[in-house]
Structures are given as structure tokens and as C-alpha cells.
């Protein structure tokens, strides 16, 4: 327990005699996005401890990946975090490219950067709608889904799939965008940018939202750093770490963008950081569209530079760690191969796992009604926690 949490409990101590209760929220609950049990210990309405119990969606993805050719692992990995499938496709492809010591062609890198940012926006929109539900407002989810649908339609045009794409493949991307697609991306981005301003007008001065989020679920920067937090959760606590700037991959080094960060690490800061990230992603995507108008033709490495990864492909021996700044934080893939088609070890670093177990610290001393707002502000994907 940190001193911060102690002070909170002391400050909000209820002098009335209340009985401590222990109860489980979930694993099936209307406010939970997927099966997870939150075992809560409360003193009256004040939360004392929260113990997440996970595993209800465990599918043995890592075991499955280690018992079949690597070519069959991509669909398994992208189904761990189904809201940001392109990111899983990227770390899978990047890990294989590291094994072969090759880089995707420049055009493929710009296309990948563009698609990852579109995916980040669509994931953040889903989060925003869901956060509204957690706070008791039903309208935002309809607005968010409306704008998100624009992006899913673009993904469908590009990859033939709305969620599980497999368009980013080892050595490049699986095909050029269809005719007129870039124009439709520009149009969708303009609509999303206008919508985000509309969302902000709805939320920013809303007294109910400010009261529900300001200084609620605060996370100290030091505690966030040692607890494995990453992504918007870490940045909201004032630590401006972002892999896109710290360890630039793809074309992020050639794009100018800001890394938004917060001050208190509360629900409001996490909200503001993600909303600003949507704006930054729109700006990055716009830059990518400009570059793609003039960059070379090849979007895939040629035969001989990297083989087609199929069930018979024998992978070079090695171990690599591929990481990407996902919408929820650092998503990483440890891949160990021993010269055969079946990998020795596949391990997915899921940011949501670390964030879920922050709940005990974040909720301590707050009201039971704050539990779901705090949970929603973390943008947890149970699919990647359970794997």
C-alpha cells in the first residue's frame, strides 16, 4: 500500500460504524466488457481492496502458438486484442522481419504507419463510448460507434475484414489500397476530427463528468513506472514515454507529433490524454497520406529477400522481442525459434494485464460508484489479459 492510498483512506474515513463486506463484481456483469471477476472488499461504500480474478477467457494462445507452424499463429495473436488487430499483425510481422534481418520497403512502412494510426483512433473511439456507459451516459457510445464505423468500413475495403485483418504481413503489406481509398480516408479523418471537437464540447464543461472524474483513481508517476504501466495510463500520470518517439519504428521519426501527458494521473487525465491522442493520430495519418502520394511503388519485399511464411517455412534460429505502442500501451512479442517451422516460445506482453492489477491501488479509498469509471478509464482488454 502506498502512502498516497493510506492518506486517501484516512481522509475519507467514515466515523459511522459500517460493516466490511466482500463481494464479487463479475465475472458476468453489465458494466464489464468481458468476463473478469473483481473481488471487492468494502467498508460501507468505501473500497478497501480490489482483487481481479482473471482466466475466464483463457484460450491457451501461447501454448497453441508453440505447437503449430508460425504461419498459423498470426490469427491467434490478432484475436487477443480484437479492437486493435493491426497492432498484433505488426508485432508478428516485425518479429519475423527481425529474424530475417530485413526491413519492409518504404512504401509499406508508410502504409503500416497510416493503418496503425487509423486503428488507434478506432480503438480510442470504442473506449470513449464505453467510458460514457461506465459513467452512466448512454449517448456517447452511439456517437462513438457512428464515427468508428467509418474507419471499420475503410478497413473492410482495404483488408476484406472489419476486425481481424492480417493485412500487415512479414515483408510488407498484403496488397495496395483500392482506387479512391486515400480520398475516403481523408474524408473520414475530417469527420472524426469534427466529431472529437463535438465530444469535447459535450464532456469538457460537463459538471457531472468533471465531478465523476477529477482526482478520482489517481495514479502516482513513480508507482505507475514500477508497476509496469505503459501507454496512455502511464502518460496520464505525467511520464511522457511513448515508443513511437523513444524508439521510433516505421516512419514515426519522420513525422512531427506531440506526446500528451497528464498531471494527476486521475480518470480525467486519462480521458484528456486519449482524446488528444486521437487528434495527434489524425495529424499523423494526414502526414502519411501526403507522403504516400509520392513514395515508391513496392509495398512488399521481393522473393528472395524474405520467404513466404507458410506451414513448411523453416525459420532462422534466434530470439527476438518486437514491440509496438498500442492503443492500450506497449504490446510486445517474444519469439524464440530453433530452426524449424514451429516456434520454441511465443509470449505476448499484454499492457492490460498490468493495468488491470493497478485497480487495487487506484480504487482504494474511493466510492463503489467510482469503481467502473476507474475501470473504464484504464481501457482494459480482457482478451489480451487472458490470452
Amino acid at each position: 500500500m502506498t502512502q498516497h492510498a493510506d492518506r486517501r483512506l484516512e481522509k475519507r474515513f467514515d466515523p459511522l460504524l459500517t460493516e466490511k463486506v466482500v463481494f464479487a463484481v463479475g465475472p458476468q456483469h453489465p458494466s464489464l466488457p468481458a468476463p473478469v471477476a473483481l473481488n471487492v472488499q468494502a467498508d460501507g461504500e468505501l473500497i478497501e481492496r480490489v482483487y481481479p480474478e482473471v482466466g475466464y477467457m483463457h484460450r491457451g494462445v501461447e501454448h497453441l502458438c508453440q505447437t503449430r507452424p508460425l504461419a498459423q499463429c498470426a490469427p491467434l495473436l490478432s484475436r487477443c486484442d480484437w479492437l486493435s488487430g493491426h497492432f498484433a499483425d505488426y508485432i508478428y510481422s516485425n518479429a519475423i522481419e527481425q529474424l530475417y534481418n530485413v526491413e519492409a520497403p518504404e512504401r509499406a512502412q508508410w502504409l503500416r504507419t497510416l493503418v496503425l494510426e487509423l486503428n488507434r483512433i478506432s480503438s480510442h473511439l470504442f473506449w470513449w463510448g464505453q467510458l460514457g456507459l461506465e459513467a452512466g451516459a448512454i449517448t456517447p457510445v452511439f456517437w462513438a460507434m457512428r464515427e468508428r464505423e467509418l474507419l471499420l468500413d475503410l478497413f473492410y475495403e482495404l483488408t476484406g475484414s472489419r476486425w481481424h485483418h492480417h493485412w500487415i504481413i512479414p515483408g510488407g503489406v498484403n496488397g495496395e489500397p483500392p482506387l479512391g481509398w486515400y480520398g475516403r480516408v481523408s474524408s473520414a479523418l475530417r469527420q472524426v476530427a469534427e466529431a472529437v471537437e463535438h465530444y469535447e464540447r459535450f464532456y469538457s464543461d460537463n459538471a457531472i463528468w468533471i465531478n465523476r472524474s477529477e482526482l478520482i483513481g489517481t495514479l502516482d508517476a513513480d508507482f505507475a513506472l514500477i508497476s509496469g504501466a505503459s501507454g496512455p495510463v502511464l502518460r496520464a500520470s505525467g511520464v511522457a514515454h511513448d515508443l513511437r518517439r523513444d524508439q521510433p519504428y516505421l516512419k514515426y521519426a519522420e513525422v512531427e507529433f506531440d506526446i500528451p501527458s497528464g498531471e494527476h494521473g486521475d480518470v480525467l487525465d486519462r480521458y484528456r490524454v486519449r482524446m488528444e491522442e486521437i487528434r495527434q493520430s489524425i495529424s499523423i495519418a494526414g502526414h502519411c497520406l501526403e507522403e504516400l502520394a509520392s513514395v515508391g511503388d513496392d509495398a512488399q519485399l521481393r522473393d528472395g529477400e524474405i520467404p513466404e511464411i507458410n506451414n513448411e517455412t523453416e525459420l532462422p534460429k534466434g530470439d527476438v522481442y518486437a514491440a509496438v505502442e498500442g492503443p492500450r500501451g506497449e504490446m510486445g512479442l517474444t519469439l524464440v525459434t530453433n530452426g524449424g517451422a514451429v516456434p520454441e516460445r511465443v509470449h505476448l506482453r499484454a499492457p492490460s494485464l498490468y493495468h488491470l492489477f493497478l485497480l487495487d491501488e487506484l480504487c482504494r479509498g474511493y466510492l463503489l460508484a467510482d469503481l467502473f469509471v476507474i475501470f473504464g478509464s484504464l481501457d482494459i482488454m480482457i482478451g489480451e489479459v487472458d490470452r
Partner: protein, 199 residues
């Protein structure tokens, strides 16, 4: 690439830096016996962020541990460390230890004790608290216990399932038998309930 000062730090901690690419510096710890001390040196030297900690079953009782760290002041490069670890079986009929501490005092929904009987790996959760979760997963998936980690309760698997699925000698048939036994138990419970608790 990892700045020279950090490469020196890795050497002092007992590791041998191996440059692979501009972003990810790799190092191998040759003397894993002092792994906790080496990790403390790295943390005190500024590697305060643990990104990932996992294991790989090599063969028989041999494992390879993989650790990914970041230095906040040199965030442009990560450090991946790996070392071998041998899990020694106890001699003779040594009593089995329980590594589950029921999740700490007063934890609601605590799990049943889970047993293991091998020599322990020192817990890195005392160096980086984030390692605690990773160690829970490594323990249940590989069976490597961590001395000093107070909570090694199962994370993803059913608490009654006593096998380690990511070991190479894992037999998937066991999981099937286990699932069938759960279904049988459920049918038996339903029947008992229907007849009022007695057959």
C-alpha cells in the same frame, strides 16, 4: 544503440552485452547464481522499468529466462537480458513446499494451495514489483517457483489444474481428462442436488 555507460553497467552487473540492432540491446548473464544481485545493480543503475519477464522450457529441468528492461533516461534503447536456470528436483522424498500464500492476508476469493517441489528462482518482485505478476504466470505455466514472491496463486488456469502447459513434456491429453472430470463432477453435483444431497 545502448550508450557506453549502460554497456559498462551491464558488464558490471555480470552480463555480456551483445548488440543486435539499434533499438534492442541484448545481453546474456553468464552467472545466473547471482541474478538477484545483478538485477539490483541494473535497477540502481537506472533500469527502473520492467517491461516483460518470461521463461522458455529448454529441455528436462533447464529453462531460459527472458527479461526486458527500459532505462527512463535512455528510453530510446531497451535491454533484453536472458539467462539459463536449472530447476533441481529435491532429493529423495523431500517434503513438497507450498508456494501459495493464499494471496496475502484477508484476500477475498483466495485460491487453494498449489504445490511444487523444486528449487526456487529468486523473486525479482523485490527489485521490480511488476515482476510479481510475471512470476505468477511463469510458475503456473512452467512450474518454476520463486522464493520471496508471496503470491504465486494461479493467474490464468483453474486452481485445481496441476500441470504446466508451456513445458515441453506437457501432455494435452491430461487437460482433456481434467476437463472431462470437471464435467463428471458437475453431473454428480447436479444429481446429488436433485435427490436432496444423498444417493
Amino acid at each position: 544503440m545502448l550508450p557506453e555507460v549502460l554497456q559498462q553497467l551491464v558488464r558490471e552487473a555480470g552480463g555480456e552485452p551483445l548488440l543486435l540492432d539499434a533499438r534492442n540491446q541484448r545481453a546474456i548473464l553468464s552467472d545466473a547464481g547471482n541474478v538477484e544481485l545483478m538485477c539490483k545493480k541494473l535497477r540502481n543503475g537506472g533500469f527502473t522499468r520492467l517491461i516483460d519477464f518470461t521463461a522458455r522450457h529448454h529441455e528436462a529441468d533447464e529453462f531460459e529466462m527472458h527479461l526486458v528492461l527500459r532505462h527512463p533516461d535512455h528510453a530510446h534503447c531497451g535491454l533484453s537480458l536472458k539467462w539459463k536456470w536449472q530447476v533441481k528436483k529435491p532429493a529423495g522424498d523431500a517434503p513438497k513446499e507450498s508456494y501459495n500464500e493464499d494471496g496475502g492476508a484477508g484476500q477475498p476469493g483466495g485460491h487453494a494451495p498449489r504445490q511444487a517441489g523444486f528449487a526456487s528462482h529468486p523473486s525479482l518482485s523485490r527489485v521490480w514489483p511488476a515482476a510479481g505478476l510475471c512470476e505468477r504466470e511463469i510458475f503456473e505455466m512452467f512450474g518454476i517457483p520463486f522464493a520471496g514472491n508471496e503470491n504465486l496463486a494461479p493467474l490464468l488456469l483453474d486452481e485445481r489444474f496441476r500441470d504446466n502447459p508451456l513445458r515441453k513434456d506437457f501432455q494435452p491429453e491430461k487437460a482433456k481428462t481434467y476437463a472431462e472430470s470437471l464435467l463428471e463432477q458437475r453431473d454428480e453435483d447436479a444429481m446429488l442436488e436433485a435427490v436432496g444431497g444423498e444417493l
